[in-house]
């Protein structure tokens, strides 16, 4: 299964330009699933709740979701992308999964970071896992179980753990990382859960307020054995495609005596 990552530098508020750039980048190589950054179409550093709301879109009827569905149909691919989801008067930091059949799932960021807590409503639906299908090199139809989490969710081990317990083979992880720790920590997340993880991060800076934000890039795909299969630079736009075997994430037995999920001793966990 070919997993593509788009690492790009969205310009704040220029949703059409950012969407067009993302579509161009993900059209440049073939892949079965693309992962785009968090808030890839709006940019990150909102300065008011109204601004975030005005840049948000309904899902799946809004223009960004519709464009992504359209290109997913054309390219026969799937796309995970972060955007601001509008629902009535609420606004979520969300990630959508779309494919040739249309909209498949929406994840609403459960652990909002920093000032996101001012603009967004925290995710109010559970983590979920959705199966998608792709054509194997031999031509057969194969399944991959996709879980989504967004950026800061990484620091809570419960996020990736929950997705693994729900059966995720691959954690798609749209991000706008500014702190340095996540790329390394995602290796731990993959090792402890034996899952793949695809973190699509952005690059560039935003300084719409006193605080200047510098995004760290380093979009990466990590294997269930903790190998970094691909890592982009910290400052350049990048389109990386890596071929993975989703079923490598399904054997949680790490030796004849230990199983990463069955060995959990819940009665001793807080």
């Amino acid at each position: 299964m070919r997993i593509g990552l788009v690492q790009m530098n969205p310009k704040f508020g220029e949703t059409t330009r950012n969407l067009d750039l993302a579509l161009k980048l993900l059209s440049s190589k073939p892949a079965d699933l693309w992962v785009l950054p968090e808030l890839f179409n709006t940019g990150y550093q909102f300065i008011s709740k109204k601004e975030a709301y005005d840049l948000s879109e309904t899902v799946p009827s809004g223009p960004t979701t519709q464009s992504l569905i359209e290109i997913a149909k054309t390219l026969k691919t799937h796309i995970v992308a972060g955007l601001a989801e509008r629902l009535g008067k609420k606004c979520y930091n969300a990630s959508i999964l779309v494919g040739p059949s249309g909209h498949i799932a929406t994840y609403r960021k459960i652990h909002l970071f920093y000032e996101e807590t001012r603009w967004f409503t925290p995710g109010d639906v559970p983590f979920q896992v959705n199966a998608i299908h792709y054509k194997s090199q031999a031509g057969g139809r194969r399944k991959c179980n996709i879980g989504m989490m967004i950026c800061f969710d990484w620091i809570f081990p419960e996020s990736a753990r929950t997705l693994a317990l729900l059966g995720a083979d691959l954690i798609c992880h749209p991000s706008n990382l500014v702190l340095p720790h996540c790329p390394q920590a995602m290796i731990t997340r993959c090792l402890e859960n034996r899952v793949f993880a695809a973190t699509a991060n952005r690059i560039g800076t935003e300084s719409r307020k006193k605080e200047k934000l510098k995004f760290i890039g380093q979009s990466q795909i990590v294997s269930p054995r903790g190998q970094v299969l691909s890592r982009a630079s910290s400052h350049k736009e990048a389109v990386h495609v890596v071929t993975i075997e989703p079923k490598d994430a399904r054997t949680k037995a790490i030796n004849p005596y230990n199983h990463l999920l069955n060995d959990r001793v819940e009665q001793f966990y807080k």
Copy 2:
């Protein structure tokens, strides 16, 4: 608070020699708390249940615990050490905490690794945290909350998380690591829980069976911000002492909007 790590190469079955070596090493520098490796007095690679049992000792009445208590009194220090604990007909892979006042706590390894499952009974009491006291540089009496976990417990994020939720400032982590991932992963454990961690690992090899085990050393102390304050080599005996401020682990707010423990959204966790 001065935390000392002993990285040593136990000789299998030579409990007196191994104990004497550990006592010599921890007497070589002043510290308020020492951490010794897992099974520091017996060695690791048992070939039968009987052998493990024969090398196990009661706690606190056995000779190893008594010797550690004695030196803790003499040196006015505390010691965390891994040993095989005998209880009736059972045998645990355990870690004890002793100090000038005697035996304080025993942790029995909950997640046994590989063939340990053949020799040992899995830990049957919950993770716990115990306060110890030390004299600050200014002369005042200060508290540090000590949690213990052993080696392979690291791969289950629930172990360190549980200790953090119980109030641990410092996770003492006696180890006999053979796989390469733990030193890096412990940085993630410290970041996600904002705790200190002191991993005391052994060096050397054991090949009492067909499988040759090579222990990776790299004993380390990591700060709540994920800094490696000290890391020993992969192959040399080492005695490292690092001064830490336990209360640096007590602020779980990582910015004005986020708190590593209070931001957990348990209803969405499996």
